[in-house]
Symmetry: C2
Subunit: 131 residues, 2 copies
């Protein structure tokens, strides 16, 4: 049971963006790629997932990049990880539409409880706390 590098790199991206939040300019993936020595192509791919969450404004072309449009104090770590990992559920049965037998399953409450625990924890932390 692991948080994938995708999730961890997503947080890395968000931390860079978070740190430049008050400066106002755009930060490009090229820049983050160089600072972190992570391939630009891989960051681009992670960004595709991350964009679902609608955290940023995008500017193409020279001096372009991304900037946060939400204050880091209002972005939870959970929302970042969920966007990046597509699936943050500990077992398939807890996702919506998951198990048709959940009301009759001896272990469903266990996995549901764990899943809630994880999500609550990650939602209790904000990006600001980890800049």
């Amino acid at each position: 049971m692991k948080i994938s590098t995708k999730g961890r790199y997503a947080l890395t991206i968000m931390r860079h963006l978070g740190r430049s939040y008050h400066e106002g300019g755009y930060l490009s993936l090229t820049e983050i790629s160089e600072r972190e020595k992570i391939s630009l192509k891989y960051l681009e791919k992670i960004m595709i997932s991350l964009k679902k969450a609608d955290f940023f404004e995008v500017q193409k072309g020279k001096d372009g990049g991304y900037k946060l449009k939400v204050d880091p104090k209002d972005i939870t770590i959970g929302s970042i990880i969920r966007a990046a990992e597509e699936e943050l559920d500990i077992v398939d049965c807890v996702k919506s539409g998951g198990c048709p037998n959940k009301n009759n399953c001896g272990t469903y409450p266990l996995w549901k409880g764990l899943s809630d625990e994880i999500n609550d924890y990650l939602d209790s932390k904000t990006l600001k706390e980890y800049l």
Copy 2:
């Protein structure tokens, strides 16, 4: 981020063993395999991991199998899952000897906190509660 079938099947095995705890006899994997429609060979493999935890007495040969030597009320779900999954750590950096830079890492406390949260939750539940 998922609990693997290995972990879930390990719990399935332990639930069967837990339910027959007070009868005292041995329960074979063949029997569990038939009840649950899970391949015997796969259950055997999972049992190899599970045995590390020293939960049972083993009897080879006819009418043999496994029986718990620890009361289900004293077995935590965490101890089962950790035995089965080899690695219950959310990121590599939290395992012992993990990251050499942990004291200087901006996100180590996040992952460590999450990891502790998960383990504490699973250790707060006993097998008895899920028979």
